[in-house]
Symmetry: D3
Subunit: 311 residues, 6 copies
């Protein structure tokens, strides 16, 4: 029994030790990642409990994911060992765009993509307060999509990060599937950004986006604006927070940290201003390092950050 | 126009920076490898020319393979860029068996496995002296197997390394396919070992194996005995060389270095004793480092090794 | 409720990245260790459950120990957070004796040494099959020693590793304390070696040592002989296993891996020959790397090792 | 016979190879540091001679400190070898505040804290021009404090850096002790900052602080303002220098480099403007790397810096 | 037959793994560099063909240069193996000026400096569209200078980078030699900066410099302004591009990447605005890493950069 | 005033981080070395005082040598700063001969080779007990050779290591020069091996060599036999010590450590057996690491080694 249940594919990340085109990189640093896993860690750092429904391969990388998740406090009892391999990806940093990263996946046919409705334990979902997933999980396979649908069907409340990855599916397919989900289920917190909203709604303006998403049943909107910061909407109120200027090592995972922090604080009754402010701190810290979730702060540590930057 | 043409899948190797189960390894060192690519480099170090017929992905890892091959002097004009991804693998070293390695592939559906008969340029084959391939290429896909068959059909002379990898196909499939090849084509040099011969012929004894392989049309047999050394047969003569005792970092690629060295020296008219002796030196050097082909020596450097160890 | 409960001090290990006197070492690699924690991991790899009663500091290193232990499957519910700091140590490798290590502790007054009888939960002990501790825990503080005594008093069965560390106490103190324990409690499995036995009993001969320890109520004796191997005694039977020749990176932790493997297999009804053979495999693997417990094998992996070395 | 004598505890620093919470850091880089040792190196780089009165352990880390100090030109004849251990500390970088560091000490009961009046050689002090120490040395032990008092008593002239470390003593204790020193001895150069002055005088404004410190017998005040720069006062004149914008790796040691540079240039008759400008250059360079003193420039190198940034 | 032929000395670069004075640097990272080699790689990335006329030593570093050049697509058929050694250099980064580098050469008497007119193949030059060299090649030896003169004599068109390195020759010698070249040969594209122009013409103002260089027969001028950007002149038109703000790792090689990109795009008929814009992107990417040429982008990748920074 | 004065060229060593041909090595590890500097450190570890007469460049590498030497306790007052550059070399390890190294020098024309008789301070030599040099110093320049001759002329006693490096001079030149030295000066301790003796005397047999060297005025002969050990002769007595079997990282510097240990112990009145035994321990430790002198033990540490290996 956990507060939040996430569905998604945990992955092994091989981050370039030095920036530049991958063919010039000689050493790779291993991290454990995956959008939903990053989200879970943010939830736990913010003092809620969290479990992930997922599959990993019966191999060292699968064991690595389970051990790391357990170490970080994630409930791993619903991670299934699958005969396929564990999905992985490489990160190319700083080329051709300084301070940006590119992901190269080896996940097609992976254990994670075998996630299916049978993995979704009804009582586990029903005893939780909120179910979270992302566009990635919808994209990796039909069975994974069906698992999300089953979980959303059973869920008391839902958060969803659109996270449209062009390498995983076409814009058309993404639009159709995600809009289907949004139309079918009330989403307590929707996390998205202008790029994805352009695909989904054909617009990018935050206020306009909020109006449209609200019509689709979204209660709270967290709208990420990249290096500019983020804006959150709820019940007619709107909060904006600028991003902090820090040295960027790798932006991967920043959005997940912000989402997990925002959702779990909001779920604990914090205002969207407070939740957003802490979400921005989380994403700010994450981009200063390689690795997606190690830097995600507790509220206490985020407050130390805020004290420093307020001075 | 090159002396030797090889067909196979070049791969990116991610070698563990430290030994042990992969989940405890934090850094990985990139190398360029693949059985036939390793073979080609051995050919070139031994002063023949060599080209590889292969496919790589249209990605950084594919470019890496082409650039590295070109650097090492391999003719890369018959490497085709394919829309699929470039195959990769990880090496776990020293666990659970000290000084041994395990390979974890991410190559299913890779560009390399898309190798097909259409990639085999008739005039390229016909102008070469010998065509080389391995059981790995037979195993990765039907089209790759057909490419080998087409090349062997056109070849003036052939060398073949059985290289049966249980992770790629069943023993039954391997036996049927490889025996089919051996029955259909005269093999100038067959490279194999007791494990593979057990699968193919049900026996392991070197002399007996030579008799049987000879009946199948094999002219020269290079029979690798692992840490004990290797034995070579030709025309009733037999040569045995013990392996040298050196510190083992990673045995991967040692057999390819030995095979490429042996075949290219033999093709230049050297005796099987001489060819075997240099092959053993090559494999000895390769096991002392991570990376499959960097250490493969020229005959001049191998002689320096032999002078030292003879003293 | 776990099969085995251990009492001891988990520590952060800073292992020299390169061998030599510490003043010439520029980089240090962090590992999680401690004799009893290493023992626990061996227990879990051998398919029993295990928990550790311990204290760690309220700091990053303390959190590190808890997270790592949890990752490895250790029950961490009885690790208490203490206001003191987490104990650490450095390893100097290869100087002045190649292939040997020296430990430099920063543990005096550490959280781990604050372990006390109040940390010992009666029902936790009573529901377990065996309680394990070592001479180190007896040495670090009086309260820690009292904790061991309380646990041994309540235990259904006990294993004990003499592990006399001259840097922690005098030979006289060690002798008096450990003999006191041996006289007071029946020890199901005693793990020791000639150096410690010289201090305790004034002798070093294995057979003679067994006779004397048996008189003190020891049922099974595991007598470690370092690079020569180990011998085990039980009920008049005696088993000896030679050590395997492998490249030595750092011998630290090898004895713990052997002890934990031996005890947990014996507890599952395996013969002392089988238990010893697997214990030797565990210690052999551990010495090939930096880090005390990452290499400890499952029985299945140990069997793969044994198959290889039997050939 | 040296120009300046410092009293303090040299320490071994283990700096995180990657930023983030220490439990996620796998490699640590060793440096030699300690506030007064950093000060001494700045003195020597600025062409005065300097010695340190200190104790280190009879261990590799103690030898490391002596060898490094000797290499850098510090007179080490008054470093005493003590039976205790050498103090060390770890640096956590960038968490929870980007570009800031946290220090985790293992120095309680260290050799350095055993510094006592008996270590203070009267003739050594009397033959020097100035004696330097810091609030850290006052805090580590009563005997160390007494050593500073004895040296200040004998000194021809004194510089003092308040350096209040909350991990070493309470604000009350710090205030009482430091004010005691300031009341008792005329300080030629006082180095401090708003945080410490808040504790000592209850104020933070630089001008006001100067007035109060002057009343306490301070001749020159160097008031560090962190990322904003620093201000110096002397004889009614005031100099302000902004900090330079550079990439921050680790701010640790920046203040010591500024202090040592300022004091030694001032002692050579340079104006406070000149001394401050060079002090700012020193601290600017130090924050761009891990390690506290390697980057401290000579005046010639500082001029090259100034030429570049003036353009 | 290649589009562009460059003459110069390829070198092995040993870049400091950490910034600071070289005596504190423990690890060095090897790269392949040299102004003209960097230029060639920029040419190739911009889709023209390029060859280098050069000498390297008959040693591993010489082989390294040839293999790397071949990998990057440079025609290496005119690199001669010389009995001398291969030139090398070290890079000290960030001291005494943050974000700046210093080069320490070991190239006196190197194979590269033995470059001579006999190495210049008439037909190779005549079949090319443009010949490129730099002030460095003029400085390293008289025979190298004569080789440039012979090639310029035969060339259809010329580009020249003044690149005056005070460590290689005096300002007087540089002025006399370079002005001699400029007076004798029409230069299609001259690449220079205020420092060099100060030496050559006694002025630094870009517009004035263009007028004077034009009088000397320069058709297009690329005038590099360091951190401020660059300006290009042609036929009365003038283009200016600001530099992008990115984290600086090592500025070495940035000018070569800009020059090679500019010249090769201009040669393909692009406007000086377009060529300059892409040149600035190339230099921007190069300064974010260690290594002079790995980051030089293709026009396609440069466009991705421009799209990002335009948003 | 020191016990022993050495003359020679200290060098910066760049040791391959990974074994193999240098072109495949990406990282290099810096060490401070040079035959005579290694010798000096061995002298100091064995509790005599030692100074070196040498020149280094006015550059970071020169400063590095002075600082390191000073750290290790060498009297650096006779190291002169020269306008030339500091000599360096690279080490290629394990190729083409496992466990052997090759040195690639960049030292021609170096500051070290500018060593000349004017650097030899008469009183410094006369106040010492012994002067040491090697064939390397004789080979690097005529002025360096003359410096050795001047020092030997003034010396009370001499030790000499033949150390013939084929890369520095021809066998003929080496023979003529070294025999000239041996004929002219009585050598208290001559250090040599079969390869050098073959060049000098045309023989290799130890006993025969001793007879011939004795006729030339050699009092004690230390005859190094590489992996087999070493033999020492004095006054009709002969001592032989086998080498210890340890993992070899880099044999460079082993002979210097043995020589310095042997000479300094012999000079303190130890028997040649004792001196040889400790010399063998020193060389054994040195070959287990990269770096030539860090592992050279004190007699106390050597005894710990001997205790371990005697067991």
């Amino acid at each position: 029994m956990v507060d939040i249940v996430a569905l998604g594919e945990p992955l092994i990340q091989f981050n370039s030790f030095t920036p530049g085109p991958l063919r010039f990189v000689n050493y790779f640093e291993k991290h454990i990642a995956g959008s939903e896993l990053n989200f879970c860690i943010a939830v736990i750092r913010n003092h809620l409990t969290c479990g992930i429904i997922a599959r990993v391969g019966n191999d060292e990388f699968g064991r690595n994911i389970i051990e790391y998740s357990r170490a970080q406090g994630i409930d791993t009892t619903h991670i299934k060992i699958d005969d396929s391999f564990t999905g992985i990806y490489f990160i190319q940093r700083g080329y051709p765009i300084p301070m940006k990263s590119e992901l190269i996946y080896y996940r097609k046919g992976s254990a994670g993509s075998k996630l299916s409705p049978e993995d979704v334990d009804e009582s586990y979902i029903k005893s939780s307060k909120l179910v979270h997933s992302t566009g990635i999980t919808l994209a990796i396979s039909d069975s994974a999509k069906d698992a999300v649908i089953k979980a959303f069907e059973l869920a008391r409340s839902r958060s969803f990060d659109t996270n449209i990855r062009p390498k995983l599916w076409s814009a058309e397919k993404a639009k159709e599937t995600i809009l289907g989900i949004l139309r079918k289920y009330d989403i307590e917190v929707l996390i998205t950004d202008p790029d994805d909203t352009k695909i989904l709604l054909g617009i990018t303006d935050p206020d306009e986006a909020y109006r449209k998403y609200k019509e689709l049943g979204v209660n709270v909107l967290l709208y990420k604006l990249g290096a500019r910061g983020a804006v959150a909407y709820h019940d007619g109120t709107k909060a904006f927070k600028e991003a902090y200027k820090v040295p960027v090592e790798d932006p991967t995972g920043a959005g997940d940290a912000m989402a997990g922090t925002f959702v779990s604080l909001y779920l604990q009754g914090k205002s969207i201003e407070y939740s957003l402010e802490h979400g921005i701190v989380a994403s700010t810290l994450v981009i200063t390092v390689r690795g997606d979730n190690e830097m995600t702060p507790t509220p206490e540590d985020a407050d130390r950050f805020l004290n420093e930057f307020k001075t």
